[in-house]
């Protein structure tokens, strides 16, 4: 098989264009890998933040116990109110 000069030139151009395309693809995929690596790093940071937030909110269940304790304080305050009212009435009389 014998190629003409024009065909050979066109083949050379195609081969060179192919190398250029390979280089362009490599550059673009390198950028893609770098961006995905950035995403991976940021996701790890988000995960660490969420882990800390989970640890911070883990004690939120104690608020229920605190609410029950405040209710007990209120009940005791009402007892004090009744007691002081009785004593005050006797002191004044």
């Amino acid at each position: 098989m014998v190629l003409t000069d024009t065909q050979e030139n066109l083949w050379w151009i195609a081969v060179i264009a192919g190398f250029v395309v390979v280089l362009a693809v490599a550059a673009l995929l390198t950028i893609l890998v770098l961006l995905v690596r950035t995403i991976d790093r940021r996701v790890v940071e988000v995960k660490a933040t969420l882990t800390q937030a989970k640890a911070n909110t883990a004690d939120a269940a104690l608020l229920g116990q605190t609410a029950a304790g405040v209710d007990l304080v209120l009940a005791e305050g009402l007892e004090h109110h009744l007691f002081l009212g009785r004593v005050l009435g006797k002191v004044r009389s």
Binding site: W12, V15, D40, L50, A67
Partner: protein, 136 residues
């Protein structure tokens, strides 16, 4: 021509190998990202579960605490009234003389016991006592 064929094959092999390598790298990175995002999803669900009770409990605490804070001044006022009423105030106590028996001076019965009667024998004990009490 052989050179062109070889270069063409090299070109195609480089393209395929490069694509495969980069896709493998990106694939592994995306797998890691997916794993981390799944863990983030679980963490967000746990945080949501933890935070769901905060609002209700805080409202409860604030409401009850407000009642307690509003009632404390009333208790202070009552306690101060008790303190004022129970504190000793010497100005309010009237000056009193020495305590004396309600029946007057008591008569000593020692003289009667030994038979000593300096005023002479009385007709009866009762009138003599009455007279002496009246003279005193």
């Amino acid at each position: 021509m052989n050179t062109l064929v070889v270069l063409t094959v090299v070109d195609i092999v480089l393209l395929i190998a490069g694509l495969a390598l980069y896709l493998w790298i990106v694939g592994s990175q995306l797998n890691r990202v997916a794993t981390n995002l799944e863990e983030c999803n679980d963490l967000v669900r746990a945080i949501k579960a933890n935070a769901e009770t905060i609002e209700g409990d805080l409202e409860h605490i604030n409401r009850t605490g407000g009642v307690v804070a509003g009632a404390l001044p009333l208790l202070y006022g009552m306690a101060e009234g008790i303190v004022v009423g129970a504190t000793y105030d010497p100005k309010q106590v009237a000056e009193r003389g020495p305590a004396v028996p309600a029946s007057g001076r008591r008569r000593s019965r020692l003289h009667d016991g030994v038979g000593y009667m300096p005023d002479g024998p009385a007709p009866s004990p009762r009138p003599a006592l009455v007279d002496r009490a009246e003279s005193a």
